[in-house]
């Protein structure tokens, strides 16, 4: 009888999986898998007609190791040159019942607490000076809704006292700022606490500019433009935006970027570090609003630095950690002492799409493990004594079954505590969140624009701690 119960449970899980993700593949013919290096390098952008003849999702098959991820940029630049910033349409999955359910579910959960009618008789003399303290404790989306209550509530973002109240409220879950394939110049934001997607109508970033999020700290996100020329800092929730002064380096090769706050809040300012494969690096200090070159990379660090550009840098206690290969491992930079260190850490076998993350001071590795036709998302923790990766968790098996026999690519959004994983193969883009400390895997509802039905493909992004008053 126990076996029967287990069988029932398995059938239930499979049914849920099919219902959520659609049961049949499309009837459109697909060209066979391309060889991995078919795209041209950066200086030969493909003419747009070529792009149309190829299957749009092909950029999923870019091989990170040979640097052809630069071709991601060539695709965007080609699209940009055609005058249209709209990306190519990916395949439309069959109508997803879940998206409507998700939206209704989202709405009702937001109103469960409002069944309490509040009597004006009691609350009409509510003291002015307590409003800010209450508003600072509202969910972020609610704050924006209540801006239309009155002029005072609309101008709280500029209020110093309101800023102080916000600083006193404990931080919850981070949000995720994502760039979708469909619309490269404005982000879609995901709130994991309410499992809701938000699509700001006014982008915080200037239009006609393609920038990608490369790092974040506190409520601020750092963007780098496609050509790796300029840095921009932005609070995705407000219009606060700043272009950083130009770097002193004139050659714009690909760089890895790390960002951290000075101290616990954004009030103390922040620092940004970029490092290139040739060992050149610079640090930006927001307090001084300038870049400095603190010195040279020590000779002990093997050059060229084959940096893993798809992995975000991790910040722990004033030190930034970057992932590299050849030799496989980590390089770290201590912002206070200015010292670079190198750690040789062999990569796990059959690993693809690795990325660093951290949780409570522990350095983690997230990546795909592919063996024969099976693919699984795995989590490793760095053993500091032995400098080896130790597997500590895996995505539930039943979810991994979906990837069986498919070529899967993964992008990890966020690098601390709560991560969003975007898993892509030819027909699908699955999104899950992973909480490193609670080891909880959760499905993320599809990203659908308001009044739309098509699920957006998540190209890349980062996590940030939503803060109304962080100023770039």
């Amino acid at each position: 009888m126990e076996g029967l119960a287990m069988l029932r449970q398995l059938i239930g899980q499979l049914q849920e999986l099919l219902e959520v993700y659609g049961s049949h593949p499309p009837l459109l013919p697909y060209p066979p898998d391309p060889p991995p290096h078919f795209l041209q390098p950066l200086h030969h952008p493909l003419p747009l007609s070529d792009l149309h003849s190829h299957q749009p999702q092909r950029w999923c098959f870019l091989n990170v190791d040979d640097g052809s991820t630069d071709d991601y940029y060539s695709l965007i630049m080609a699209a940009g040159k055609s005058g249209s910033f709209k990306m190519l349409e990916p395949y439309k999955p069959p109508p997803a019942k879940k998206s409507r359910k998700e939206r209704t579910r989202g709405k009702s959960s937001g109103t469960t607490n409002t069944s309490e009618a509040m009597e004006q008789q009691i609350w009409k003399d509510f003291p002015e000076d307590l409003f800010e303290a209450v508003i600072a404790r509202l969910p972020i989306a609610t704050f924006f809704r209540f801006r239309s209550v009155c002029r005072k509530w609309n101008s709280l973002l500029n209020s110093q006292s309101f800023s102080q109240h916000c600083a006193q409220v404990p931080q919850g879950n981070p949000w995720f700022y994502t760039i979708t394939h469909e619309n490269v110049n404005s982000g879609a934001m995901y709130d994991p606490s309410l499992k809701k997607w938000h699509h700001p109508t006014i982008s915080s970033l200037p239009s006609k500019m393609i920038v990608l999020p490369v790092a974040s700290a506190g409520g601020l996100v750092c963007f780098l433009d496609i050509g790796h020329r300029n840095f921009y800092i932005c609070n995705p929730l407000t219009q606060s935006f700043k272009e950083l002064p130009a770097r002193s380096v004139k050659v714009w090769s690909r760089v890895a970027v790390g960002m951290m706050l000075n101290g616990n809040s954004t009030c103390g300012g922040y620092k940004i570090l970029w490092v290139g494969c040739d060992g050149e690096f610079e640090v930006y200090d927001s307090v001084k609003n300038s870049w400095t070159r603190p010195g040279n990379m020590p000779s002990i660090i093997k050059l060229p630095l084959s940096l893993n550009f798809r992995s975000q840098a991790v910040a722990i206690d004033g030190t930034l950690y970057f992932m590299r290969s050849d030799p496989e491992g980590i390089v770290s930079y201590d912002m206070v002492t200015g010292v670079w260190k190198q750690y040789i850490v062999p990569a796990p076998l059959h690993l693809t799409d690795p990325t660093l993350a951290e949780c409570g001071g522990r350095i983690m590795l997230v990546g795909l493990l592919s063996k024969n036709a099976a693919t699984c998302v795995c989590i490793w923790e760095l053993q500091k004594m032995t400098l080896l990766w130790k597997e500590v968790d895996r995505m539930p098996n039943i979810w991994c079954l979906e990837f069986y026999g498919k070529h899967v690519r993964m992008t990890c959004l966020g690098n601390k505590g709560l991560l969003m994983l975007s898993l892509r193969s030819r027909q699908m883009n699955r999104l899950v969140t992973y909480n490193v400390s609670s080891r909880e895997w959760l499905k993320v509802p599809g990203c659908v624009v308001p009044r739309g039905r098509k699920r957006q493909w998540i190209a890349c992004g980062t996590a940030f701690h939503p803060c109304l008053t962080d100023i770039a």
Partner: protein, 153 residues
Amino acid sequence: MSSSKSNKIVKLESSDNKTFEVEEAVAVQSETLKNMVDDGCANDTIPLPNVNGKILEMVLGWCKKHVDETVTGDELNKYEADFLDLDQADLYGLLMAANFLNVKGLLDRVLQRVADMIKGKKPEEIRRIFNIKNDFTPEEEEEIRLENAWAFD
């Protein structure tokens, strides 16, 4: 570590003339009372004309619970959660008292409770409840609504 003041009693009188006697360690959970004690003004009964007896008793109960070393973390959490199971009039009174007496932990909890009560409401309801005048023109209000429409999704 015993303090020479540990047996000192603080006397309080509510707006409806009820008197309460509590140990100093309990009273100083309130920053307001702590300042009075530190300034040497707490030797006689302290009048609290803006806090009634019922509410003052609640606040002092909170303070007592928080200096009781026999209470576990879980018990305290449950106590704090149950504490706010009040009708609106009492909740409002508690908020005013916690603000005036500046009992930080209690004030945080009550403020969060109020935020939770209003978070699902529409702006028009907020104005009605708190008697806030809508000082936007209809055009301005519409503009702000559109700007922030993404949060309404």
